[in-house]
Amino acid sequence: MIELPEKILLRMYYKMNQARFFEEKVDDLFTKGLVHGTTHLSIGQEATGVASCMALEKGDLVSLTHRGHSQAIGFGLDVNLMMAEILGKANGYCKGKGGSMHIADVRNGNLGANGVVGGGFNLSCGAALTQKYKKTGKVVLCFAGDGATNEGSFHESLNLASIWKLPIVFLIENNLYGMSTPVAKHMNIENISDRSASYDMPGLTIDGNDPLEVYNILLKALRYARAGRGPVLIEAKTYRYSGHSKSDAQDYRTREEVEEWQKRDPILKMKNYLKDNKVFTDKQILTMEEEAKDSIENALEFAMESPEPEITAVLDDVYA
């Protein structure tokens, strides 16, 4: 049994709940047609999104995927500004120009969600090159999906990161599908972490639905990268409950499969851990959950009341 400081456990549990509520709310908004565009929910993947980021140090950087809400919340983004962005408002993170797929907080080290599958790999190499060059001691955590590891950029980036010993941890959230395509159909290997062998870098497959395992392994991997030993590839097996995006009939999987995974829900797992080990009382847990829920209600209210961008803003920020 791994012992973690209460403060971390508390933040982890709170944020995982926040992420879940956030996305349920976003789902609701899309379903009601209140939001333009599409979104990719990570409900079920909160452990990989949140617990991984808990292991970061101040100043570390992240690169997120199109399925990036949990990752962003884990990294510490403000749910108010996230929700405002999704509603396309002027005070959203990207002034309403990015939306769900491009939430970023670059000044604080969140290099942004990326609408391009595999788009974050080489950006992360660049960010890590900066850390190495400037000897900041900081590490880049690069998220990607299983499907993304078949893009050429995965290969080029891992190779580059390896030969240049860049401080990056590549975290592959293997949720068993790239859109509708099961992993077994898009690659011939069981564990994506085996691909690390092509670059002589450590590779590890872990249970992505166990927040404490995610946290602990990430801590180790980050320490390795931070020590200047080079990049690490981690594959965390997990599952998304929602469809791929707004419109998905989910013909490629069974109800049973989804239900099977729901039994291994990462938030439930953590709740049981906290209860079983009496880290917090039931009341404390309930309070955390309620506070998380309230924060999302507030976020929605904040976002709703936020102003639309001026139409002239359309011409701003093309060039620095």
Binding site: V35, K97, G115, V117, E151, V314
Partner: protein, 333 residues
């Protein structure tokens, strides 16, 4: 089998039907792309095709756009006639080497030894709230690559006729589809030999006062503007170069000679867009001496596509922009 029936269907359904007919007709036609099998394609273009043609001909690929296009090129030079789908045109960025340095040049570079009969389907355009990386109209790039053909239908009938022509063509054809047009309806000939010839510009509406040249998703807007202006007694002629490259300029030049006034419009960013090419060709043609007013380009603003719905709409020419441009041309003494 000759079939004179006409049926109302969507643009989406028309492309799908065209692909199905050609796959029934020719075993060498195969279809590759991401999530085109069980999922039926991100925009539903291949619904049911896996059931009909099986896994050997409907090939779900990994998320590897360069490999999709490169594989199609290799298959095309060795006897197949692949169709491939890039989920969003924006991701053709990954396949530019395979498309441009291999597919487009191979025949020429090898002195005519080979041909590359393939179709690259590219869903394009904004208006879906998908922001900067899922909304681009990059046809101008493709029209700058000798060896490629580029077509883009605006109506269901054009869509069916052009996809069939593209599949039968012996060159790499980029088939640009418009996401906002997928659900638009129109009459489509069911005749399996109904083909819309490549390199043909369509006259969508006759008129004598002002020529509008536009294509893709702007056509409906131009048509609405023309209908509005008709009530004011202004007769707009609308030309739609559904083959963008190589372009059939004659109807355009003839129209400008007749009207003396022209608007060239597209959704893509103005600078470096195809509008410049069309305007330049008009300027180089005999129509030049007939121009009564400077030519006008209506185009997307030179910005990435923003997420916010109002901002997104502000980037793209709207019906009102067409109307204003027509007035402007007619005011020019």
């Amino acid at each position: 089998m000759n079939n004179n029936e006409i049926q109302n269907m969507t643009y989406r359904e028309a492309i799908r039907l065209g692909m199905i007919e050609e796959m029934q007709r020719d075993d060498n036609v195969i279809f590759m792309g991401e999530d085109i099998g069980v999922y039926g394609g991100a925009f539903g273009l291949s619904q049911g095709m896996l059931e009909e043609f099986g896994e050997e001909r409907i090939l779900d690929t990994p998320i590897s756009e360069a490999a999709i296009v490169g594989t199609a090129v290799g298959a095309a030079t060795t006897g197949l006639r692949p169709i491939c789908e890039i989920m969003f045109m924006d991701f053709v960025t990954f396949a530019m080497d395979a498309l441009v340095n291999q597919g487009a040049k191979m025949r020429y570079m090898f002195g005519g030894q080979t041909q590359v009969p393939m179709v690259l389907r590219l869903p394009a355009g904004s208006g879906t709230g998908a922001a900067a990386q899922h909304s681009q109209s990059l046809e101008a790039w493709l029209c700058h690559v000798p060896g490629l053909k580029v077509v883009t239908p605006s109506t269901p009938a054009q869509a069916k006729g052009l996809i069939k022509a593209a599949i039968r063509d012996n060159n790499p054809v980029c088939f640009i589809e418009h996401k906002l047009l997928y659900s638009t309806e129109g009459e489509v000939p069911l005749d399996e030999d109904f083909i819309v010839e490549i390199e043909k510009t369509m006259t969508e509406r006759p008129g004598k006062d002002v020529t509008i040249v536009t294509y893709g998703t702007l056509l409906p807007k131009a048509m609405e503007a023309a209908a509005f202006l008709a009530e004011e007694g202004i007769e707009v002629e609308i030309l739609n170069p559904i083959t963008l490259y190589p372009m059939d300029m004659k109807p355009i030049v003839d129209s400008v000679i007749k009207t003396g006034r022209v608007i060239v419009a597209h959704e893509a960013a103005k600078t470096g867009g195809l509008g410049g090419e069309i305007v330049a060709r008009i300027a180089e043609s005999e129509a030049f001496d007939y121009l009564n007013a400077p030519m006008i380009r209506l185009a997307g603003l030179d910005v990435p596509i923003p997420y916010n719905k109002e901002l997104e709409a502000a980037v793209i020419p709207q019906k009102s922009d067409f109307i204003r441009a027509v007035y402007r041309l007619l005011d020019h003494e």
